[in-house]
Every structure is written in C-alpha cells, then in structure tokens.
C-alpha cells in the first residue's frame, strides 16, 4: 500500500525537469487543456516521477475561503486531521477532489479538499493573536510535520495545486483539468535528482496563495532551511524547492518586500555588480544581501512563481537552466523550451529569454506588460 510518510530510496539521475506557465493579464479564465499540451511537449524532460499544476482563479464561488487540498495515506490520517480542522476552522464545504482513474495513475493517496476559514474562537486564541494567514501557515506546518500520513499541498484562496507521481499530462487527465478554469496556470514535469519522487514531492510547492515550480538544484538548501526554521517554518516535504515557497512567504507577506525585491534576494546581484551601482541602489542591494544572506538561493535554477497578482520567471545568477518567454495579446507564456510555447501559441508576438538573475514579472489587471523592456532590474524604482 502507498505510504506518504516513508523511507524512500534516493535516486541520482541526470537532471531535466520541465516548466510551463500561462497568464492572462486581464484575468480571463481558460481551462487546463493548453497548459497540459504545453507541458506534454516537454514529456522527455521528466521521468514520470512527478507532475503537477497550480491554477489561479479556479474557486471564484469560495474566493473568501482557504481552499485546502490534502493528501492522506488512509482514513485514520484523514480522521485525525479532520479533527484538527473541526476544532479550528469553520468548514463551509468539503469533498473528494474530483479524479478520473486512468491506467497511467494507478496508485494514489486519498485526495480531499476543504473550503474553510479559521474560527475566531479557535484553540490557540488562548495563547496568541495570530492573524488568519499566520494561523493557516501554522496549521499547514503542523499537519505536514506532525500528522502521520497527511500532507496539505494547497492552502490558498481561489487557487489550487493539483499534483502527484506521474507524467504531467497524465496528472492533468487524472484531475480532469479540462474541467478546471483559471487565469493563470503553472506546470511542472519532474525528473527527481537528489530527493525522492513521491506525491508530496511533486511540484508545485504552495503555501497560502504562493506557488513555485522549479527546475534545478538548490545547493543552499541547508542554510535556507535553518534560516526558515528560525521563523517557525517546518521543512517536511523532502525536496529543496519547498524552501523557495516559504522564503517568498516570509519576504513578501511577513516582511512586506515588493515582489521585485524579493526576487533580488533569491538571486542577489553579485557584489561586483553592486559595486557599479548608483549610491542609493548600492545601499539598498548591499543591505538586502547583508540582511537576507541566508535566503539567497545558490545552485542552478529556473523557477516560475505564481501569486494572485501575477507570475514571475526567474533564473539563477549565471543562467544554468533554460527559460523562455513569449507573449500574444493578453497572454504571456513561460517555458523551459520555446517549442512548448509554440505548441499552444504558434505565432507569438514576441519571444525572449530572461537574463540571468533578472526576473520577468507579469502583473495582472492594472499593470500592462512591457515586453520590450526585458531587463526588469533597470526598472526598479525604489520609493
């Protein structure tokens, strides 16, 4: 029988991994067919040990509630976790996550979702005054580390992660993503290198509304993990990518850094670059490096970061992983390979690659995309 908490054998293989992202800046929703097609083109970048999707705008009828997606080993794990939920949350609705059994995904955990909000008179109120978001984070950490056989893999509002062990196109069929609609999608095809291929280890990694898909290795995992533990994040998912989701939660939600600056913490400019900056910028970037040295990501990476207001594509500082962007009208596409974009958008208006360590940030609604300006770092005006 499948076990979520288990001692997995650790395999070493050549790296691959494929990424895709689609965003409609006017928040027009589309179903999961395009993202499935795009990531399926990168089939050979993975090895069937992990596929997943994040979608934003998929639960408009419950947009004020936290949508928890939870995977369970067995009914005992479900019962124990639901006891915690009932004591601490008002559960407006709960149901099995709709799945379609295919021969490709034949072994899966119990997959359940809950639309809920923290109770105002919940247990912990006796000791602390946590805000709802903080309480949700605390609950996710608690369940993932202390509740045997239970993992929360999605906990945001009006968004959700759908992932598992398998090729991403099969995972899309398994979750019937052609019935799911969103204004932004990200996808991942996994080729596990240093950590096990298991259901909780598939990408995206999410916390609250943040989601991350990642290709590469975070060599700084140990430092990042110890840093995050000081802020009470528990790293329970056995995969380096997890740190990115939590670092961004810390920087953006807790420390109120703008997304642009948070990206410059993950891929901080080299000191030799900082030396050439204007005094004001130099001071800022020096301070960021000093304060957030332990949040710097080392090693090769390409990531797509999703948040309710947009999508970010970011490479490591010397570009050791592929990443390409394309735009067509209100749509922007990000992928590991250009052909993946062209599979769903044969004639993009513009195709380009992010520069090493410089994020491409595509924001929804008010902000228009400035695709001509590839070098975003130059655009940062610090107020």
């Amino acid at each position: 029988m499948l076990r979520l908490k288990n001692n997995f054998s650790i395999e070493h293989d050549i790296a691959g991994c494929g990424l895709c992202g689609i965003i409609n800046v006017k928040k027009i929703r589309t179903n999961g067919e395009d993202i499935k097609k795009a990531i399926a083109l990168e089939h050979d970048r993975g090895n069937g040990l992990g596929g997943g999707f994040a979608v934003y705008g998929c639960y408009p009828e419950y947009s004020e509630l936290y949508a928890f997606h939870v995977m369970y080993d067995d009914l005992a794990a479900k019962e124990a976790t639901e006891k915690y939920f009932k004591n601490n949350f008002i559960i407006e609705k709960q149901e099995s996550i709709p799945i379609f059994k295919t021969s490709k995904i034949n072994d899966h955990p119990i997959l359940h979702r809950y639309f809920m909000k923290p109770k105002s008179d919940r247990e912990d109120r006796l000791f602390s005054e946590l805000k709802d978001d903080d309480f949700v984070v605390k609950s996710v950490m608690l369940i993932n580390s202390d509740y045997d056989g239970a993992y929360v893999f999605s906990s945001g509002k009006n968004m959700g992660a759908f992932k598992g062990v398998g090729y991403p196109e099969d995972i899309a069929d398994f979750y019937m993503l052609d019935n799911v609609e969103g204004y932004m999608w990200t996808a991942h095809n996994r080729f596990p290198t240093n950590t096990p291929g298991w259901w909780g280890g598939a990408h995206p990694f999410t916390l609250l509304d943040w989601s991350i898909v990642h290709n590469g290795e975070i060599s700084s995992y140990g430092i990042n993990k110890r840093y995050l533990e000081m802020f009470k994040y528990n790293l329970a998912l056995k995969t380096d990518t997890e740190v990115i989701a939590y670092i961004l939660d810390l920087l953006i939600r807790k420390h109120k850094l703008p997304v642009e600056l948070a990206m410059n913490v993950l891929a901080a400019p080299f000191y030799q670059t900082i030396d050439k900056m204007e005094p004001e910028q130099k001071e800022l970037y020096t301070a960021l490096r000093q304060i957030y040295g332990s949040a710097l990501l080392n090693g090769p990476f390409a990531i797509i970061f999703g948040y309710p207001d947009g999508m970010v594509a970011l490479n490591d500082r010397i570009k050791l992983r592929p990443l390409v962007a394309g735009t067509k009208g209100d749509f922007t596409y990000i992928a590991s390979e250009e052909s993946s974009i062209r599979e769903i958008c044969p004639f993009p208006d513009f195709v380009w690659s992010p520069k090493a360590g410089e994020p491409i940030i595509i924001k929804t609604v008010k902000t228009t995309i400035d695709s001509e300006n590839i070098s975003q770092k130059q655009r940062l005006i610090i107020s």
Partner: protein, 258 residues
C-alpha cells in the same frame, strides 16, 4: 513513393513532423539518407530533439521548418542544416564538419566544444556561445552571430573563430565574463566595446588585412545566406580578441615561481 506523411521524389524527401516523437523522426531521416536521399525537408517541426546528430556526408542538406528541439546537429560531420525559425539550446555541440544556418535566434550553448564546420545565426544567441571551441591546423570551426549574445561568450575557447556582428542593436552586444579563460582562437567584433569590463586574459586589437581576408569568405557566405548587403557587412573596422597566453591558468595550482 509515399509512406505515411512522407513524400519521396528522387533524392529528396519531405517529412511532416507534426506531433512526431524525436525517435521516430530521426529514424526516418537516417533511413532516408541510407537509401540515397540527399535533401531532407522537415515540415511542422516543433521541439524534436537531436535532429541531424552524428550524421556524415557533405552532400546532405536538411531543411527545418519550425522550431527544432535541443541538441540540433550534435557531433555532425559534414551535412548542412538550414533552420527557417529559432533554435533552442545546445546546437552544434562537438560538431566536426558541415554547417548550421539559423534564420532566427538561438538559445544557450551554441557550438560547445565545436571542432570544425560553420554555424551562422541571423539573430541573437543566448548564454555560453562557443565555449570550449577548438581548432587544429586546417580544422577551423567558425561561428557567426548576427545580433547579440549573453554572458560567457567564448569562455575557455581553445581554437577556432567567432564573429559577433551586433547588427540591429543599440545596446552593447556582449554580456559578462566575455572570453574568460580563453587560451586559443580568435573572436572578431564589428562593434567596439568597453573591453575593460571583460576578461583580463585576452587582448583587444584592430583586425588587420590578414584577418580581413580570412574573414571575408565567411562574411560573404553569411551575407548570401541571409540576403544581406555584403558591402555593409565587411565594411568598417573589425576588432579582434585573442588570448594573451596559451595557458592562462598555468599557475592556478602551482607557485608562480615555476
């Protein structure tokens, strides 16, 4: 003869690659060439890896319509590949002879360890272009880039020639770490750059008549391939970058006294 979506006429074959896996596509290409085909036309290519890899034969031409996948023309030894779109990463890795012509942009790592033949790119190219390139006597690999390139251009270059034209670019056409560890070969630029920013292991010179007569035959071919004015292309001053030492790291692990 028609088999499936393939049309064979004499020494020519057209293959519809739509939704075809790379293994099948490359098998058909190889079998066609074995059966005497000289001209292969690939239609609706999108993302298929390894096209033209390891193929031999100076008289073989493969024309690609669509964006081919990674590792195009790797280890190739003679044939010509013409791509009428952009290409992805790792084209011409360790290529020995032949030619790759790209009518669009190229991704990262073009001509890694290349040891012969030509790669002509009309547009821009990404990071790590021509790294570890090498040459020996008559065997001179040549890469010409029409636009700009990312960082690590010519890193650890050991031989061969690269030309960066910087056409249609207002901004500077090279990134960081230009020619780092370069210890052989030459890089030519059509634009003067602020070279103080880049590698300290290379020298920056004006190209002389000998350089220009060498470059001319390649530039004329490049102009013809992309329908550019050959006068414009060869006019003006070119700048040459050569390593200042054949062994820039001779003393990395030993005392400088030796």
């Amino acid at each position: 003869m028609t088999t499936g979506g393939n049309t064979k006429t004499g020494s020519m074959v057209a293959i519809d690659a739509k939704d075809m896996h790379y293994k099948e596509l490359n098998k058909i290409i190889r079998e066609s060439i074995l059966s005497g085909v000289k001209n292969v036309f690939l239609e609706n290519v999108n993302g298929q890896y390894y096209i033209g890899d390891g193929l031999k034969g100076d008289d073989i031409t493969i024309t690609v319509n669509g964006v081919p996948g990674n590792d195009l023309g790797v280890f190739m030894d003679g044939p010509s590949i013409i791509v009428n779109n952009n290409v992805q990463d790792n084209i011409g890795n360790t290529m020995n002879a032949g030619k790759i012509t790209v009518n669009g942009d190229a991704g990262d790592v073009v001509g890694y360890g290349m040891r012969g033949g030509r790669i002509y790119i009309r547009g821009n190219a990404g990071y790590r272009i021509g790294i570890h390139m090498k040459g020996y006597n008559e065997q001179i690999p040549v890469i010409i880039i029409g636009g700009k390139v990312g960082s690590f251009f010519g890193e650890y270059m050991a031989g061969g020639v690269m030309v960066l034209l910087g056409l249609d670019n207002s901004e500077e056409s090279v990134g960081e770490y230009f020619g780092v560890g370069m210890h052989g070969g030459a890089i030519y630029l059509k634009q003067k750059i602020d070279f103080s920013k880049y590698s300290k292991e290379v020298e920056f010179l004006e190209a002389n008549d000998g350089d220009m007569s060498f470059l001319k035959k390649y530039l004329l071919e490049y102009a013809k391939d992309f329908n550019l004015s050959s006068e414009d292309l060869i006019s003006g001053t070119f700048y040459k970058i050569v390593p200042s030492s054949a062994r820039p790291y001779a003393h990395l692990y030993t005392s400088a006294a030796f």
